[in-house]
């Protein structure tokens, strides 16, 4: 006889802390394996193993192998790890803040702002004053500026007398998304064919533009944000009972809100700026981890970062290999895998969690 929803819920669950720690260890191992794969697998015939052997023996690698390993695969791997960790952790942070398993960095305007900034760069590029000076960095800079601008705007709207209302932020975020979509639409309208293709590709996301110049800026920002976010675990746990209860338990709720928003805007803003629009990682990864080892944010944040990194690098390996020597945009892969997976999660949990 199939278990009913109540039976499933009434099952006794032991202390999940131990399980969560075990999950962390497993994910660290997985991360290592995926990283090695990310360096070893690729369209070019460069072999990681023979390169390591040669290097250990003091031999010089061919220029081609050097380029492939050190200037293509390695920056790409690091970008994938950082962006994956950033997106997944941001999802977990916002779901905790909004007390909603469906929350996503989109909600605080990051994606809408970044997209608008990128479209401005693509369509208006030549016409804007500092385009020449920034060169290839122009688009990421504008995308990041858009992400931050949108988040700050939403924060100001939602914060009165030193208190931020997450409900207001959610509603204002919807309005802002609609506005940026309209403005983006205007830009697309005046865009020409080549620009429209560029916009489409940007929206689908890709790690193929990864290089050391971008990493030098992106890595510290993402790393610092993720480390700072770990301090929010206990606060977000308390806030699951409501802001009032959290305050009674001694949590500085406004500090938690502000730090969460800053971390998400920084980490996601930078990730989207350098790799375009990549969806579903922020929703699916924390959700899966909650199912496995519970919603305790003290472990969820760390594990989300690890699993998000693994997922994105794996998706990137697929992107590079499936139609080699051409590449698929990575956003397509995360959508193809993430969409149905997310639906499956929803269907399973419908009766149990009353979503």
């Amino acid at each position: 006889m199939a278990a009913t929803a109540t039976d499933v819920m009434r099952r006794q669950v032991g202390d999940r802390t131990l399980k969560a720690r075990r999950v962390t260890v497993v994910l660290l191992t997985l991360l290592l394996l995926v990283s090695v794969a990310g360096l070893a697998v690729g369209a070019a015939e460069t072999s990681l193993w023979s390169s390591l052997v040669a290097w250990a023996q003091g031999e010089d690698l061919s220029l081609r192998d050097q380029i492939v390993l050190l200037h293509i695969r390695l920056p790409r791997l690091l970008t994938g790890l950082l962006a994956g960790a950033a997106l997944a952790t941001s999802g977990a942070l916002l779901q905790g803040l909004f007390r909603n398993p469906l929350a996503d960095p989109e909600i605080i305007g990051v994606s809408a702002g970044a997209s608008f900034g990128a479209v401005c760069a693509i369509v208006l590029g030549a016409a804007l004053p500092f385009a020449g000076k920034l060169g290839a960095a122009f688009l990421p800079v504008l995308a990041f500026a858009g992400a931050w601008g949108a988040t700050l705007l939403l924060y100001r709207i939602a914060t009165r007398h030193g208190r931020t209302s997450v409900a207001t932020m959610l509603l204002a975020g919807i309005a802002l998304s609609a506005l940026t979509m309209a403005l983006t639409g205007v830009l697309i309208y005046i865009a020409d064919d080549a620009q429209m293709r560029d916009i489409t590709f940007w929206n689908m996301g890709s790690l193929s533009g990864a290089n050391w110049n971008k990493l030098v800026i992106a890595a510290p920002v993402i790393f610092v944000s993720l480390v700072a976010a770990q301090a929010l675990g206990a606060g977000l746990n308390a806030m699951a009972l409501g802001e009032a209860a959290a305050r009674h338990m001694g949590v500085s709720v406004q500090v938690v809100k502000r730090l969460t928003i800053v971390c998400v805007a920084a980490a996601t803003g930078v990730s989207v700026a350098i790799s375009g629009g990549i969806g579903f990682v922020g929703i699916v990864v924390p959700h899966v981890l909650r199912l496995i080892s519970g919603p305790d944010h003290k472990h969820l944040l760390v594990n989300s970062a690890l699993l998000g990194a693994c997922v994105l690098v794996s998706a990137d390996i697929d992107a590079r290999v499936i139609i080699a020597p051409a590449e698929l945009p990575i956003g397509i892969i995360t959508a193809i895998l993430g969409g149905p997976f997310f639906l499956w999660i929803l269907l399973r949990q419908r009766g149990v969690l009353d979503l």
Binding site: G42, D192, D193, F201, S208, P325, A326
Partner: protein, 291 residues
């Protein structure tokens, strides 16, 4: 006499040996520097490579390179504006031959750092541009003489086609696509306008560059005599009937006369080896539409 002939023979032999060595040396040298694993990026560039008879040196091409048909059997490295560095390197090329506008810039930066020669072929939409393209490609391939020959032949074809076409009193609107009822048309600085002008007609619409979405009013004001479109074999692609049925177009002279002309895209817009053929076919089509 005997001494003289032996000396001569010896000298001749030495000269021959030297000449042989020298030639061998030269051949060796050129063999080392001549690229034989070339990636061709851009349909018009690939077409020129085949026309020069150098296709045996190609190892890959991009998505837009599908003429001649044989080109399609080469591995496809992706869309011309979105190439990935590792994908390109995976075919172990010793040269990239790319049309202007291929990208993204980061990819070409990485490739340049790897010491890979990258030759950019300039684009343009008139006869001198076609000549430059052919010369650039043939120089890169080390067959400048054959390139010069091809350029002359193509020039002759084009000039003949222009002469035969004459000047036409027709304004033509080139429709690239129709998305959700909105028309994407060719403005200035496009291959479409370029080839129309070669065929003696003029672009019905002006005031912008590139292919852009145009409003219904703009189409009505342009009042084209003929609609020009690309042929598409995809299911669900916009058909001439769909375009003529568009309310703005139906109200133009082209719409009222059902004057729509379809041509193969790469032929029409490639500005490559077959430009002469494109111009004469286009002129013939326009003439037919006029009657």
């Amino acid at each position: 006499m005997n001494q003289m002939s032996s000396l001569c023979r010896l000298q001749a032999a030495m000269a021959a040996a030297l000449l042989a060595l020298f030639s061998f040396g030269v051949l060796e040298a050129t063999a080392e520097t001549v690229p034989t694993r070339i990636v061709s990026v851009g349909g018009s560039v690939t077409e020129i490579v085949y026309a020069l008879g150098q296709e045996h040196r190609l190892v890959a091409r991009d998505t837009t390179s599908n003429y001649p048909v044989e080109a399609r059997s080469l591995p496809d490295v992706g869309y011309v504006r979105r190439l990935s560095p590792e994908g390109l390197l995976s075919v172990a090329p010793d040269m990239i031959l790319a049309e202007e506008g291929a990208g993204p810039p980061e990819t070409f930066e990485v490739l340049a750092n790897s010491g890979l020669p990258i030759v950019t072929v300039p684009m343009g939409y008139d006869l001198p541009a076609v000549q430059s393209k052919i010369r650039a490609v043939s120089e890169a391939l080390g067959v400048a003489d054959a390139g010069e020959e091809l350029a002359l032949q193509v020039t002759a074809d084009v000039e003949e086609a222009i002469r035969a076409a004459g000047l036409r009193d027709q304004s033509v609107l080139f429709v690239l696509s129709m998305q959700g009822g909105r028309i994407m048309a060719a403005g200035g600085d496009t291959a479409a306008q370029g080839v129309l002008e070669l065929a003696g007609a003029k672009n019905a619409i002006s005031g912008f560059d590139g292919y852009k979405l145009v409003s219904d009013e703009a189409v009505l004001t342009a009042a084209p005599d003929v609609i020009l479109m690309m042929q598409s074999h995809r299911r669900g692609a916009v058909s001439p009937g769909d375009v003529l049925a568009h309310p703005a177009i139906a109200a133009t002279p082209a719409g009222r006369n059902q004057a729509v002309l379809q041509m193969d895209g790469m032929l029409l817009l490639g500005f490559s080896v077959r430009t002469g053929q494109a111009v004469s076919e286009l002129a013939a089509g326009l003439a037919a539409a006029d009657s």
